[in-house]
């Protein structure tokens, strides 16, 4: 069974629409959570991260994510997407006692102008 699940594989939105991408993980204990983004032709970039503290984290380019421990979730949100947000988005987790990232399968977002 996949340990990090991203529910949407391909999402198509119009500009100004709101975005929410789901991410669930299946590890107990303390985890570190990340969202990475890969724009077409570019390298993976860190969008935002959660280590501890306020479960609502803000990242670059107006993105935010909420860590809900009881639901093992770390969903990514943006209130109004732009055409330039077209990219592939990856949720990732560092499990307790490990240093490597465990990735979800990725969500390809296509924003239509």
């Amino acid at each position: 069974a996949q340990s990090v699940s991203q529910h949407n594989h391909h999402v198509i939105l119009s500009e100004a629409a709101s975005l929410e991408l789901g991410c669930n993980y299946s590890y107990g204990g303390t985890v570190n959570l990340f969202w990475y983004v890969q724009y077409p032709g570019q390298h993976l970039q860190l969008l935002l991260k959660y280590f501890s503290g306020d479960p609502l984290v803000k990242g670059i380019k107006g993105f935010e994510a909420e860590f809900i421990k009881s639901k093992f979730s770390f969903n990514l949100r943006k209130p109004s997407v732009q055409w330039s947000d077209t990219a592939e988005y990856f949720c990732a987790v560092i499990r307790p006692g490990r240093r490597a990232l465990t990735f979800g399968s990725g969500t390809r977002l296509q924003v239509q102008p």
Binding site: Q2, H43, L44, I94, R99, A100, L101, F103, S105
Partner: protein, 114 residues
């Protein structure tokens, strides 16, 4: 400050040949990771170096893959002999040893085995 750089960006080889991928981490980053994404699948961990030492190689698929990091600077990942199923994008990432483990990625090497 230069980011993580990977060479080559794309490699096309025939089954049975040897290919060597290179990764130059961010200067001063002791941790270096290799990951791989095969077509349609998730990005998967291959191995982790701390300086020149292999800390975790639990993700290496088989003994056709050999990773080195002599001197604790750049790293190479050799595939010998390459098989069709080795095709994919190989990513390298690095992070500092202290503090939070925030990994910075290179652009990846796309390997096509024909």
């Amino acid at each position: 400050e230069a980011g993580v750089t990977q060479f080559p960006s794309h490699s096309v080889i025939e089954k049975g040949q040897t290919v060597t991928l290179r990764c130059d981490p961010i200067s001063g980053h002791d941790n270096l990771y290799w990951y791989r994404r095969v077509m349609g699948k998730e990005i998967k961990f291959l191995l982790h170096f701390v300086k020149e030492s292999k800390q975790d190689e639990s993700g290496m698929p088989n003994n056709r893959f050999l990773a080195e990091r002599t001197g604790g600077t750049y790293s190479t990942l050799k595939v010998q002999p390459a098989e069709l199923e080795d095709s994919g994008v190989y990513f390298c990432a690095s992070s500092t040893r202290q503090g939070k483990n925030i990994q910075y990625f290179g652009a990846g090497t796309r390997l096509s085995v024909l």
